[in-house]
Amino acid sequence: MAISVDAPEVSRDMREQAGYTYTFLSDPQAEVIRRYDLIHAGAGEGGRDIARPAEFLVDSSGTVRWVNLTENYWVRARPEQFIEAAKALR
């Protein structure tokens, strides 16, 4: 499930183009992004606040079980990393 400041329409077009099947959520005011302390102030188009890249694996009880906060936005979590973490979930 992916979250960004993009409007739902932008996410819809992107999802269709790329063929992604998982959920894309819009946080245009960056409220949830702020609640998770992931604001990258002024980094978006026209100085807009956007999310810094981050991945969280949350178990069915709502507890965070794995976090990846990259230090370089070209370096993102690879599927293997989180699949390994997901295997530990019951």
Binding site: L25, R35, H40, A43, L57, V67, V75
Partner: protein, 150 residues
Amino acid sequence: MKTRSFNWPVWAGLLLSVFAFVSYFFVFVRFPVTRDFPWASLLLFGAAAALLLVGLRRAFAPERRLRSKVAGSVAATLGVAIFGLFIFSTFVMARWLPAAQGAPEVGQKAPEFSLTDSDGRPVTLSELRSTPVNGKPPKGVLLVFYRGYW
């Protein structure tokens, strides 16, 4: 006269450094292997540097005219500048990220939220955690925060 011939290595070197720069953002960035550490781009820059060096040596051969020396120097300088810009954007600028010290840590509860999905429907985290997938309750949810496409 052979000595007045077109100094192709210097121009090929400049073109290759432009290609090395552009290809990272349009091609190599799509594959984690060439994106996480840009070794393919660095190899291309290495080849460009070799061509530029060969070209510079040719340009500064005694029998060459001043024009050739100036053109060779300009091309080599541009090549180095493009390389510098590449290193800056991939190794320096890309690290200008906030530390996110207040982000939820392992063992903490993920803050609940309600957001709109790409079809305009409201979705909550607790819904995502409990809605069956392929007839089975989900083991968990992966939250991916990304910069967006604006």
